[in-house]
């Protein structure tokens, strides 16, 4: 039953997509008018609507006949920015070279994005918010779920772009407006050149494969200064990726060699002078290091709550000044990830790129994230946790962090049905749809 419905939706959606490309807006109006005239003029004795019907049908047939043959050779280059932000209008350029010996006029450019249709498994697993309140038919057949999934998976809105006249053999550069709708990777498969017929009703289409992709960063909200409290903590290994490669560069003094000191720390000139190995000693690094903990444990793949949580995390990542401190982004995907930014290490942009690709984790318990954070607790000055629920494990997690003396700000993103904590919990509840408002109050 579900499979039949899925096939039907898929084929209908594909038909609609193709029809939508094949017809210009005027053509769509003519098609609708044709249908209306067909209904009204069904009885040719009662109204003369059938006369309008045959005229419109003839127009569409003539227009379609004009659109059968269309050959054009265009070389197109797409110049994409590295990343754009979800919900923020952006633009990119296309360089189009007319490879024919005739000037080309009246062409329209349509971008081909990757097919947003979900697979059957995804369709089965997905749960539309509020689906349980729908009627039996909608729940069983699942059209609202399909429509919701398609809407969610549509990467961007790109309006058809009429092209300027292209001289024979010449090139033109056009700017295309783009409205990224959701974070992640936006994949382009090609470019379709549409040529409306002489009535402007039916498009003749030529598709040119032109793959490309760009990263859409998560949508961000204005976050007031979080004023994270916290003390400077000893960072083993110093700034140069505190904990990854290299040592701190702040020279303090020389001292005698002790077994185990690395050879590269031996100060050879002093050793030569005093006749025994002398090593350089460096400053222990103390500075502020915050953790931005993102909860990725949701039940369903497509979740508004999760998307908003990523946005909140992105907003916070941008608002924390990382000039003098470090910010660790911690989350669990297929494995546990820790991305550090600040003090010349990583840039916030990179962190946003990481956030653009975060997927929900459905095969591990929340414990995995908790352990990862607690492991690093010694070096943390403070933590910001963006959580998806306020249940016992999460409560316990925040309590333990605070018990370790790490000041922790917790944001719980919910859809309004999430049970709120008591006043003693010191968490900020953010409701989907009112995130900006909730953050402004923080």
């Amino acid at each position: 039953m579900k499979r039949v419905a899925y096939r039907l939706f898929r084929s209908t959606a594909s038909f609609q997509y193709r029809l939508g490309r094949q017809l210009t807006p005027a053509g769509k109006l003519v098609l609708v008018a044709l249908g209306a005239a067909g209904v009204i003029g069904f009885d040719t004795n009662r109204t003369v609507g059938y006369q309008a019907f045959t005229l419109l049908a003839a127009l569409l047939v003539v227009a379609a006949a004009w659109s059968v043959v269309f050959r054009v050779r265009l070389d197109i280059q797409r110049v994409l920015p590295r990343f754009v932000t979800a919900g923020a209008p952006a633009a990119y350029r296309l360089v189009i070279r007319n490879g024919t010996v005739r000037p080309q006029r009246g062409l329209v450019l349509l971008e081909d994005l990757a097919d947003p249709s979900p697979s059957f498994d995804e369709f089965l697993r997905a749960r539309e918010p509020g689906e349980e309140r729908r009627n039996w038919f909608d729940r069983t057949v699942g059209y609202p779920r399909w429509a919701w999934l398609i809407e969610r998976r549509r990467g961007a809105g790109i309006a058809p772009r009429p092209l300027p006249p292209l001289p024979a053999g010449g090139a033109r550069e056009v700017e295309v407006a783009l409205l990224p709708l959701r974070r992640g990777r936006l994949a382009f498969t090609g470019v379709t050149i549409a040529r409306p017929d002489l009535f402007g009703l039916v498009n003749a289409l030529v598709t040119i494969p032109l793959p490309g992709a760009l990263v859409v960063l998560p949508k961000r909200y204005a976050v007031p200064d979080l004023a994270l409290p916290g003390v400077r903590k000893y960072q083993r290994g110093g700034v140069a990726l505190a904990g990854a490669v290299g040592d701190s560069e702040e020279f303090v003094s020389l001292r005698d060699y002790r077994p185990g000191d690395p050879l590269r720390r031996v100060h050879w000139r002093s050793a030569a002078r005093v006749g025994r190995p002398v090593v350089k000693e460096y400053q222990d690094e103390f500075f502020v290091r915050h953790a931005l903990v993102l909860d990725t444990f949701v039940e369903h793949e497509e979740s508004d709550v999760f998307e908003e949580a990523v946005s909140v995390a992105a907003s916070i990542a941008c608002s924390i000044q990382t000039k003098d401190s470090l910010l660790d982004l911690l989350f669990v995907g297929p494995e546990t990830y820790c991305f550090t930014a600040g003090r010349g290490l990583g840039h916030t942009d990179h962190m946003l790129e990481v956030l653009a690709g975060v997927r929900p984790c459905r095969d591990k318990p929340f414990r995995a994230l908790r352990d990862a954070v607690l492991e690093r607790s010694a070096s943390l000055s403070g933590a910001v946790a963006v959580l998806l629920a306020w249940d016992a494990p999460r409560r316990d997690f925040v309590r333990r962090l605070r018990a370790l003396g790490i000041p922790t700000r917790a944001f719980v993103v919910g859809d309004g049905t999430t049970p709120a904590g008591g006043p003693g919990d010191q968490v900020q509840h953010l409701e989907v749809g009112r995130i900006g408002e909730g953050l402004a109050r923080s």
């Binding site: 210009t24 005027a26 109006l29 609708v32 008018a33 209306a36 005239a37 009204i40 003029g41 009885d43 040719t44 004795n45 009662r46 109204t47 003369v48 609507g49 059938y50 006369q51 309008a52 019907f53 045959t54 005229l55 419109l56 049908a57 003839a58 127009l59 047939v61 003539v62 004009w66 006029r105 009246g106 062409l107 040529r195 409306p196 017929d197 002489l198 009535f199 402007g200 009703l201 749809g433 009112r434």
Partner: protein, 671 residues
């Protein structure tokens, strides 16, 4: 946006076709005037929703009004649906006019689809999907004009012209205008040929379907041909459906017969009416009285209600009908064999028939009324001879034939394979049982053989009193046939079928008959109301119901002052509207402190300002100021506002504070 004048032209065309030229012209001027006028109204999404709701209510009201009022007593007028569709451009005009004079220039999709409205209500930041309704409205005008059904070439020509006009604007610059014109010409010619062909196809199909259905229905009301079941095998089963409702004349006792048609030529198994062309009957003044014969008609009358599918059909009439009264139809015609046919009328008619002394409807006998077909001639002649009819007066011959059939035959709806050549011969000579068609046909032929001109009549027998409806009802199984004999210069009914036929038919009636009767009655009452046969005047008052509805909606629309008027030029120069609480006395304090060099910084919150003053040990009573500021804030920003008492309190406290400060200043000056 449509090109100039196109939409106006479409509206005028619609008005021209539908006869609503005056409102259409006004509407066209209004729509096109928007181009010349800079005046615009800033309609919000919700305003468009309300306007759309208004259109819906007006549409629903018009539908109710038209449904109840249209066609009442004006048969032949277009149906309610058609009129409603013709009015549609007028009914949705408010939306289009509002779009034309709106700053947005488009209508929010929520105005058409509840789903969008609901979605917008659910979402905090709804997307702004909007539609320019100008072109769809033009299409609507053209299609609504088609409902006027003016079958001249004007419609097609105008549609071609308007379409070409609209298409010219969106034509592709790639092609030469010559190609464009040529292609349009091809499409127009193809469209013309297509619609002519389409109309012909429908006509052909209709004819074929009509013939097919006629062949399926055993009893039809074709006044030229009556197929009988003579010779059919098996059991006849007729339905219990109620076809007629009859109120007999005073003193008239059922059972009596209502004739639909009579036929003069038998060609087994069908009867035909030959030489029975219809001539139209002219109504008397008033249009509801139809005289079938000259002379004064008696007062007593039989009332009949009958459904006429598609407003056409043959009327069942009692014998010797002289005049039909209260019959609201457009065209009526009659034939020399006594059939009266409605050519154009309503789906249900109720009429009264006045009956005269003789039968003026039926023409005197002709040669056809004496002919006996060769196949039945031998058997019929034999019966006529057996009865010894020759030489007796016609009245006696009729009585003898009636007695013969009554005593020697029995009624049966079951027919077996005929033993002889002709089923009728089998009936007369061997089986001697059959249904009414056998009896009637045999009677006619025997009478003819005996020298009495005779015809075959079909119609209904009125015999069942309905306690539910308090009138006589006639069911499909009461369909009957009988003979007409020409006796002493008049046609007389001669029903030789044994009277038990009705009981036998009733015995096999469905057990659910009482239930279906209630449904049938409900349909009848509804149809009477539908065709305006009930209490008149109700429909007339319904239209007044629209007035409070429209007023109420208009009040909702304008009463809340949601619509702000914006003149495009003036909009920029207008000062910003004064915000709530702008008259708060707190500003006096702010001014006073600013004059003293303790003013609020730009964008500094009042509470921070007071804290700052306090921290700087400024000579102000910060606590009193905080109390005032709190009240001021509520006056300024609380959506619910503050009460009258609190307003007074604010004023009083500010005055007290200012007085105190002035006093302190004086004291300082004094020192």
């Amino acid at each position: 946006m449509t090109p100039p004048v196109l939409l106006g032209a479409a509206v005028v065309f619609w008005g021209w076709e539908t006869g609503l030229l005056l409102p259409a012209t006004a509407l066209a001027v209004l729509l096109e005037g928007a181009r010349a006028v800079a005046w615009r109204v800033d309609f919000s999404r919700r305003d468009f929703h309300r306007i759309s709701d208004l259109c819906t209510v007006v549409f629903a009201g018009s539908a109710v009004y038209l449904f109840t009022a249209s066609g009442t007593r004006v048969a032949g007028a277009p149906g309610a649906m058609t009129v409603l569709f013709q009015w549609l451009p007028l009914l949705v005009a408010p939306l289009v006019v509002c779009q034309a004079y709106s700053t947005a220039g488009k209508v929010d999709l929520g105005a058409f689809l509840w789903a969008y409205r609901k979605k917008a209500a659910d979402e905090r930041d709804p997307s702004t999907d909007a539609l320019d309704v100008a072109y769809p409205y033009g299409v609507l005008c053209v299609l609504s004009a088609s409902a006027a059904n003016v079958r001249t070439p004007v419609y097609y020509a105008a549609v071609c012209l308007l379409t070409a006009w609209a298409l010219w604007v969106v034509r592709s610059p790639r092609f030469s205008p010559l190609w464009w014109v040529a292609s349009l010409a091809v499409a127009s010619v193809a469209g013309y040929g297509g619609h002519v062909a389409l109309h012909r196809v429908q006509q052909t199909l209709e004819e074929m379907a009509f013939e097919y259905i006629s062949s399926l229905v055993r009893r039809d009301t074709d006044p030229f041909r009556s197929a009988t079941a003579i010779g059919h095998l098996g059991r006849l089963k007729l339905s219990d459906r109620i076809l007629l409702r009859v109120t007999p004349a005073a003193g008239q006792a059922p059972p009596f017969l209502l004739r639909e048609a009579s036929y003069n030529v038998y060609n087994s198994p069908a009867w035909f009416a030959v030489g029975a062309a219809f001539t139209s009957v002219q109504p008397e003044a008033g249009g509801e009285t139809w005289k079938l014969a000259p002379g004064p008609a008696p007062e007593a009358s039989v009332g009949v209600s009958v459904y006429l599918p598609r407003g056409r059909g043959v009327l069942p009439l009692p014998a010797r009908a002289m005049e039909i009264d209260k019959l609201a139809v457009v065209r009526l015609s009659k034939n020399p064999l006594g059939a009266v046919r409605v050519d154009e009328g309503l789906g249900l008619v109720t009429y009264r028939v006045r009956v005269g002394p003789d039968a003026p409807l039926d023409a005197p006998p002709t040669g056809f009324d004496m002919a006996v077909p060769a196949a039945e001639a031998v058997a019929v002649a034999r019966i006529a001879a057996d009865l010894g009819l020759a030489g007796r007066p016609p009245a006696e011959r009729l009585a003898a034939v009636a007695a013969f059939f009554r005593t020697r035959f029995r009624y049966s709806t079951y027919a077996d394979r005929p033993l002889g050549q002709s089923p009728l011969e089998d009936f007369l000579l061997r089986r001697r049982s059959g249904h009414c068609e056998y009896f009637a046909t045999a009677t006619v032929l025997v009478l003819r053989a005996a020298g009495v001109p005779a015809r075959y009549a079909t119609g209904y027998s009125v015999q069942e009193w309905s306690r539910l409806e308090q009138r006589y009802v006639v069911r499909a199984r009461h369909a009957h046939s009988w003979a007409l004999g020409w006796v002493e210069g008049a046609w007389r009914d001669l029903d030789t079928t044994p009277p038990v036929w009705a009981d036998e038919e009733a015995a096999v009636a469905s057990a659910f008959e009482p239930v279906s009767d209630v449904g049938s009655w409900a349909v009848f009452l509804f149809s009477r109301w539908r065709y305006g046969e009930g209490e008149e005047g109700v429909a007339r008052y319904l239209v007044w119901l629209l007035v409070p509805l429209v007023l109420g909606l208009a009040w909702r629309l304008y009463g809340r002052r949601r619509i702000g008027r914006v003149t495009t030029e003036a909009a920029r120069d207008e000062p910003a509207p004064r915000h709530a609480g702008a008259d708060s006395e707190f500003y006096l304090i702010a001014d006073r402190l600013a004059a003293a060099g303790l003013g609020r910084g730009p964008a500094e919150p009042v509470s921070t300002w007071i804290d700052r003053l306090e921290a700087a040990h400024a000579p102000v009573t910060a606590d009193a100021l905080r109390g005032i500021a709190e009240l001021h804030y509520r006056y300024r920003f609380d959506p619910a506002g503050i009460g009258v008492d609190e307003r007074h309190a604010l004023r009083a406290r500010v005055e007290a504070w200012l007085a105190e400060r002035a006093g302190a200043a004086r004291a300082r000056a004094h020192d």
